[in-house]
Amino acid sequence: MIRAIVFNGKTIYRKKFHWMKSFNEAIVLSVQNLNKQHGTGCEQCTNGNRHSLIKNYCSQCGTVYACQNVSFEVYEGETLGLVGESGSGKSTLMDCLYFDIETTSGKAFMPSYKKGEHNLFHQTSQEQRWIRNQLMGKVYQHASRGLKMDFSSLSNIAEKMIAAGYRNVSDMKSRATELLKHVEIPIGRMKDAPKKFSGGMQQRVQIARALSNYPPLLLLDEVTTGLDLSIQASVLDLIKIIQRDFNVSMIIVSHDLRVIRMLAERTIVMLEGKIIEQGLTDQLLEDPQHPYTQQLVQSLI
């Protein structure tokens, strides 16, 4: 914001406030030519021949090409949206980035990991665990994948913090309590196990857990899918607050364009495992270029 100072009807100068951030092009994550396939492939579908493919499935050998040559960047403090129909490879991509599944080929770099000189996918599983504990947080669509349903919410958060190297119990407890308060879990229920919680509360515990190690990158996989509208609104609101107050970068996966419109500045559209279009979110919604994106936007209710 630049505030003009007016004197005798003339603009004298425009004041720049100290809190105004300057332009920042720092990259948090860079992904290059990521591929993920289920199956070994056959002559019909490898080596540039993709004749036998029906969408991203090889009718000859049954290989599924879940992600094909996916490349993109995530910048500091930005929220990147990822949309596409079911089966387009969104969740596979997220699982690859969080090392939940093995990537077939491709590179990923984080400047916060060894100056960004080493391909994350080529690290040992121990190193990958370290990366994910120190530099990432993830929220899964199904809370059962992200939380231990029988442990208390506090211990779920403590678990992630211990993995990230925290050792002081009282510090961990106060941090966990503060986070749960932030995501509006009542104090009296913090010791409850997530299995006793509603879907929306479980999602919020997951978000608190994901934030506990101050990660520079947060992966949110369909966080609002399956929640009723009012709970959805409170989760969206929470994400918006995190964007504002924590300066973390986020990748938000959703098939709901309205969710993406509210949260993401830039968006990637995936179809059959490939990125078919990317751009400013409002541009994708109002001036989509690819036939599939046009169809997607026209289907909006």
Partner: protein
């Protein structure tokens, strides 16, 4: 006066894949805005007025032509060519856009909506709160509504909130897409008053108005769009 925005041979078509056709929206638009100018655009619905604004704001993907903008952070840049990240930055700090619709997270109060647009620039909460109070009272939005959700607002109230949200940031360049379309006479006067104030502060504005008479003696320059082409009016 210094030039702040210059459109050179801007054209925009829309390719509609499901119909297999291309629609030409605007063609060969040349326009120059001086810093601190208030420029009005008129024209029939569908003539391409909004397209010009949306091209500048990059809501529409650039195609042909150049849009040179003099940014206080980057100097002279072509808005059609800069990175998406730079555009996001400009949208946050320099270029504002007021549409006829209000997009906001559900269950966010009017006060929070305006505060958030300041907080995302990085200012302190207290400052954001003060500025929000100032602008909401200026627009005479009933204080009883401040902590209410906009879904329950009338069309005019929503629109005033929408304008407040953009104006509270005091952008250098403000694009107005029919900001007064559904307002009653009193609210229109309020908008006009605020625009006068913004002109005084040196904000450059480009606005689409159906009721140009209302804005007439405020506008420094007036254009008319006919079938996707721009004509200057005396």
């Amino acid at each position: 006066m210094n030039t702040i925005l210059q459109l050179k041979k801007l054209s925009k078509c829309f390719k509609l894949h499901h119909l297999g056709t291309t629609i030409e929206a605007v063609r060969d638009i040349n326009m120059e805005l001086a810093e601190g100018d208030f420029t009005g655009i008129t024209g029939k619905s569908g003539s391409g007025k909004s397209t010009i604004l949306k091209c500048i704001y990059r809501t529409y993907a650039p195609q042909q032509g150049e849009i040179w903008y003099h940014s206080s952070s980057f100097g002279w840049i072509d808005l059609c060519a800069i990175s998406e990240r730079k555009m996001c930055y400009l949208r946050k700090y320099e270029i504002g856009y007021v549409s006829q619709f209000l997009h906001a997270i559900p269950r966010t109060s009017a006060r929070e909506i305006v505060e958030n647009s300041m907080l995302e620039m990085g200012c302190e909460l207290q400052f954001a709160q003060e500025e929000t109070k100032k602008i909401l009272s200026h627009f005479e939005l009933d204080p009883a509504l401040w902590d209410n959700y906009p879904v329950t607002f009338s069309g005019g109230e929503r629109l005033r909130l929408n304008i407040a949200r953009a104006m509270v940031k005091h952008p250098r360049l403000l694009l107005l897409d029919e900001p007064t379309a559904s307002l009653d006479a009193t609210s229109k006067l309020k908008v006009r008053e605020l625009m006068q104030q913004l002109i005084q502060e040196g904000t450059t504005m480009l606005g689409i108005f159906h009721d140009i008479e209302f804005m007439r003696n405020l506008c420094h320059k007036e254009y008319k769009v006919v079938d996707g082409r721009l004509h200057e009016r005396a």
